[in-house]
Point group: C2
Chain length 326, copies 2
């Protein structure tokens, strides 16, 4: 994991520096307070994975992406906007190891700052003067909001199917990865089949990434995670390990799991017991396998592109998405 | 007032019908719940003033606006998105005489539905394939969010100046009117000076409209208003009448007003006494005069256009903005 991360960081170091600079340069607030609230999350050390994907996909199509940094950060602004809103929605305390914006300020200020970042992303999209880019950004935003609404509506709903879950994570996470990769191809003026291949790579990477993220909730401790372990369970968010266990654990275990989900509260011991059930009925392994399916599809798509530094990093990023959950 | 309203309605009847139909047709949600939550506010009888302004400004430039309905409703989606978020931010109970979305459902669902409507507006903007239109829509959204953030940050701040107030209402209200009128001109492919004139008309109309709206809080009862009378005062929103009175009432009255603002609570008698002070130091009349200045500027701009049905309705709308506050 560490070697992989180091290799990726070495390959994209200059890109990351350019992204950090652009994130600050393009924020352009009318009021100083807006810079503070937006900056609280934006400059708390995100991985910048989404803007990187856009740049790398552009480079994979032979695009000199130096002028594309202002477009790449669209995806970080969008991501930050949805994180801020999601934290309000979930009543979260911590994000990237920091107290969330809606607790440092208040929920209304956090909501409006999310709106500003959303709008800022769209202003930068408009500057590309490419309708397909703009439509992609707007479409991503629609899907992300709806994915979150649906997830919220089905909070604690133990009838949630695997297909429902896949639809939610596609909307709330994978469409953003997909869109970043698509826009990389669009800005490179790549042929349509190439753009679709890049979008598919992003979609499968995003699906794997979210599944890995959902696994972390049951495989990591609070201090490594930067947010509270077991948070999804506490919020009634049923992710794939739980959905699988609710069908494959023993009837007694299923009943106990349902009561814990309904209670929306648990002791550390109960969380450990919950995790032990996920392991004993292979729910963790099952989720890893589904993530691995998507990773394999992402890699197969990459194999269709000529080898080179961009392709190597894009393949490493797939492995990184996997390594996070292990 | 009633005659004026009837005359406007008679002139724009077919437009209003087309707008209502398009609002339903273009919502296009991925999940049914999204239609319900978004529709709760969207179909509670709004005036559709912003889409109308876009259509009328287009027609003033000789544009056959039949194909522009899908663009006109962008401004109603944007307006609805900000109303939903503002109601969450303000903790409002009523809007258009209905219980607000965040009380029928919950604040998180309302926040995310606002996000969806914002994104939907931008998807429709992208469909125009006109970067200037898209940049206008994104810019409006940035300013509106920031106007609200600033208003919130200065809640109960008795040092708020008249210039600060003008900046807030420009950001939170007038830029949307301005943008609707600008896009009417852009879609009509009008020459740049004409587009700027239309945008200025919208800006001044929007300023007058918000001042009239702020006056209503002190001149109307809850049942006519569709929201609670004195709500701005209760939320610590200092509008022009209050800003004026805090400088022109007697020292004793100013002290009493400040204590009421700080308390963020009042009895019906105290609200009546507050209003009596606004009247005795001419704060109501002063606000009307400032609104009248903007109305006069809006009308002067219209005088530069050739006479015709569109110009007549746009002038009537200026009078309507004024008549609301009387």
């Amino acid at each position: 994991m560490t070697d992989l991360k180091q290799r990726i960081l070495a390959a994209v170091g200059p890109d990351l520096a350019a992204i950090e600079q652009a994130l600050a340069d393009h924020l352009d607030p009318h009021y100083e307070l807006v810079r503070q609230v937006a900056g609280h999350l934006l400059f708390a050390g995100g991985k910048r994975l989404r803007p990187l994907l856009m740049l790398l996909c552009g480079r994979l199509c032979g695009h000199d992406t130096q002028d594309a940094i202002a477009s790449a950060i669209i995806f970080e602004y969008l991501h930050a906007a949805t994180l801020i809103h999601d934290d309000v929605v979930d009543g979260a305390d911590l994000r990237r190891g920091r107290t969330v914006a809606h607790k440092v300020w208040d929920p209304p200020t956090a909501v409006l700052t999310g709106d500003f970042l959303l709008a800022r992303a769209l202003t930068l999209a408009a500057r590309t003067q490419m309708p397909a880019v703009i439509a992609t950004i707007a479409g991503i935003t629609e899907f992300m909001a709806q994915g979150e609404i649906n997830q919220l509506a089905r909070k604690g709903d133990v009838t949630l199917s695997e297909a429902d879950y896949m639809d939610v994570i596609r909307c709330k996470t994978a469409v953003l990865f997909q869109g970043a990769c698509r826009v990389g191809g669009l800005l490179a003026r790549a042929p349509q089949p190439i753009i679709e291949a890049l979008a598919d790579y992003g979609l499968h990477l995003g699906m794997a990434f979210q599944m890995a993220d959902d696994l972390l909730d049951y495989t990591q401790q609070t201090d490594t995670l930067g947010k509270r372990a077991g948070a999804d369970l506490l919020e009634g968010k049923l992710t794939l390990p739980v959905i699988h266990a609710l069908r494959h654990a023993t009837p007694a275990e299923q009943t106990w799991m349902k009561s814990l989900i309904a209670a929306q509260a648990f002791t550390p011991d109960q969380l450990q017991q919950f995790i032990a059930i996920l392991q004993s009925c292979d729910a963790i392994a099952y989720t890893r396998d589904r993530a691995a399916d998507h990773m394999a599809r992402a890699k197969t798509i990459l194999d269709g592109f000529p080898p080179g530094p961009a392709r190597t990093v894009l393949a490493d990023i797939v492995d990184y998405a996997w390594a996070r959950a292990n």
